[in-house]
């Protein structure tokens, strides 16, 4: 019954969830059960690639929640993604143990290389999975809280907010490039061996990570949908459309924005944490402002203000990117730019706007 209501109120979302469910069954079967000689076999490379797209989709979902529904354009959401990724990367680094090139059981290779004698305090605890997972959520959340607290309270909005979020991610990128920060400098962290004792190179681990990405995306989608359908969701849209009216109706606009911003940053962090073990590397280029801007394009292409639109946009643009950068490497950036321009001019509601006509469901 609940599913039925869900289907009626959010057809696109229902299709998306069904699609994810299908992926979760078909992909592992094609990879693990179907023999490699069969034409239906799905290579592990492809599984990981789809897993990577799903992480991007989760990131796009996080951005759409604040940009599409609350009108907060963050051009630095890649920062939260990268921070989540770094937290996961630190755990994976500690898991290497004495299998590194220098064979030091305590210190990661890059620290040995820098002649460091002991682990910096902020690396403590990252050998424990639960602690690392806590940090995946806490670090982006805390940064978003502090950053949002100051900017929303000073009523920084619109393009100014976009610019300072951009500055935020740029500053973090420069900081993480420094070797003295203790996060591996410009090489970042790589050469991971295993996660929770499972070999990262094994097909089964890859499939498990893929499934984790599917589940994370599905759960986050439902959570976002719950928020948007609640009264809080309506307040958030009200803030987007008429901020000062919302204030005079009696809502503390800053708190709502802050809450949503932190939630969105946490989702981005989770996406980053799932991304890193699948691609096998995290380095400061993840903080690059360009990444965050590309993310905005995914959401715009898919359709902002529609949660499944963001997911669709992320999947399509990234698939196109994989294809183009292999087939016509020089053309990709032009294609991306053209795509953005065309979508902005002809499809202001993105691709999903093509078939979705906005009609309100009657009140139950």
């Amino acid at each position: 019954m609940l599913l039925g209501r869900f289907y009626h109120s959010d057809r696109g979302g229902a299709i998306l969830l069904a699609g994810l469910f299908l992926l979760a069954i078909v992909v592992p079967v094609l990879n693990l059960v179907v023999p490699e000689s069969s034409p239906f076999h799905l290579s592990t490379y492809t599984v990981t690639l789809i897993g990577k797209y799903l992480c991007y989709a989760l990131l796009a979902l996080a951005l759409d929640l604040i940009w599409g529904y609350c009108g907060i354009l963050s051009l630095g959401h890649g920062a939260f993604f990268a921070l989540g990724g770094y937290a996961m990367g630190m755990y994976l680094m500690r898991q290497i143990g004495d299998r590194g090139v220098y064979g030091n059981p305590e210190l990661p290779d890059f620290m040995v290389f820098l002649n460091w004698q002991e682990l910096p305090w902020y690396w403590l605890g990252f050998d424990m999975f639960w602690f690392a997972m806590l940090m995946v959520v806490l670090v982006p959340g805390l940064l978003a809280f502090v950053f949002g607290w100051f900017s929303f309270r000073s009523r920084v909005t619109g393009v100014y907010l976009a610019i300072i979020t951009q500055a935020l991610t740029f500053a973090l990128m420069l900081a993480f490039f420094r070797n003295e920060m203790g996060f591996g400098g410009n090489n970042g962290m790589t050469d991971f061996k295993d996660i929770l004792g499972f070999d990262l190179q094994a097909d089964s681990t890859r499939v498990a990570l893929f499934l984790a990405s599917v589940v994370a995306l599905a759960v986050s989608y439902v959570a976002c949908r719950f928020i948007i359908n609640s009264k809080l969701g309506r307040v958030i849209v009200a803030i987007r459309d008429a901020e000062s009216r919302t204030r005079f109706v009696g809502y503390q606009v800053e708190r709502f924005k802050l809450w949503l911003f932190v939630f969105s940053a946490v989702l981005a962090g989770i996406a980053g944490a799932l991304y890193v073990p699948q691609v096998g590397i995290i380095n400061p280029s993840e903080f690059a402002p360009l990444n965050s801007i590309e993310l905005v394009i995914w959401v715009a292409v898919g359709g902002r203000g529609m949660l499944y639109g963001a997911v669709l946009g992320a999947l399509l643009v990234n698939y196109a990117k994989t294809y183009f950068t292999a087939a016509f490497p020089d053309l990709w950036l032009f294609a991306l730019g053209a795509l953005f321009v065309l979508v902005t001019i002809f499809l202001p509601k993105g691709l999903v706007g093509l078939w979705k006509k906005r009609g309100k469901e009657p009140e139950p």
């Binding site: 009696g250 809502y251 708190r255 309100k360």
Partner: protein
């Protein structure tokens, strides 16, 4: 100036820090035993040397319907900004009832505490339905978490239906607010004020851009609200003011020029001078 002066100033002993003051309690039994519900005394606001309000003193009685008129730049909107906490005056005091100092409160606190405001240009939540607009405005716990898990109970639904009836938008309840006509938006905004169950309604130019028929209905609506609420109307349309006003205040250059019934005010030579020019 002695080096210690700034320190002394910061640690003045005859002052109580805001956070030390007792929590403001907006209770339904607001203390209005002396008559007025809003007290503005010697309020001055200046923007870059220009005095938008100049020692303005004004009292609004409980349950009264008051019209405020005045030429452009007389400070009508600034006065509303001061009452609702949007602008802080340079000097003066603003009290709600006898105990609540509005100058210490934020816009949100004031709105929740019982002063509703309608803007000059109708601002409703355009991508929400009429019903949702009222739902959002309805008096309730407006914190983040309670809002996330909020649902309407029967009493609240009845209240919304009642307001829809009052503002004559029952049939449009599921229309998007953005699709309403200008006049309907004005009414919806008044309905949103009502949903907050305020003690005081500040209404800025309610009939701007309305047809004669709509104006008439608005006049009826506002007069019917007085009594249960105090209503302060800022308006340019003299015909409209005449049709609803019992007491009129004329503002000029940031202070009160004249006050009284419409007839008294219209025959006041100073008012005539201001409106018709020398």
């Amino acid at each position: 100036m002695k080096p210690l002066d700034p320190l002394r100033k910061a640690l003045r002993r005859d002052r109580v820090f805001d956070f030390m003051m007792p929590q403001v309690v907006f209770s339904p039994d607001l203390d209005v035993s002396h008559g007025p519900i809003l007290y503005l005394e010697d309020v001055t606001v200046s923007f870059d040397g220009f005095k938008a309000l100049n020692n303005l003193s004004l009292y609004i009685d409980d349950g009264e319907l008051r019209c405020i008129i005045g030429p452009n730049g007389a400070g009508k909107t600034t006065m509303m900004d001061v009452i609702t906490g949007k602008t802080r005056p340079d000097s003066g005091s603003v009290f709600f009832g006898q105990k609540i100092d509005l100058l210490r409160l934020s816009e949100t606190d004031i709105a929740q505490g019982g002063i509703g405001r309608k803007f000059q240009r109708p601002t409703v939540f355009e991508s929400h339905t009429v019903y949702e607009n009222l739902e959002l405005s309805l008096a309730a716990d407006k914190g983040v978490w309670p809002t996330l898990f909020a649902s309407l109970n029967q009493a609240q639904k009845d209240r919304i239906d009642e307001i829809l009836e009052v503002i004559a938008l029952t049939e449009q309840r599921h229309h998007l607010a953005g699709t309403l006509s200008h006049g309907q938006k004005q009414w919806l905004e008044i309905g949103m004020l009502l949903a907050q169950s305020p003690r005081v309604l500040l209404v800025d130019e309610p009939v701007a851009g309305m047809t004669a028929q709509e104006t008439e209905r608005t006049a009826e609506l506002l007069t019917s609200l007085a009594g249960k609420h105090s209503v302060v109307v800022v308006e340019h349309d003299m015909e409209f003011v005449r049709s609803i006003a019992r007491k009129v205040t004329v503002l000029h250059e940031g202070s009160v020029l004249a006050e009284g019934s419409m007839d008294e005010v219209q025959n006041d030579p100073r008012v005539i001078e201001v409106y018709l020019g020398e």
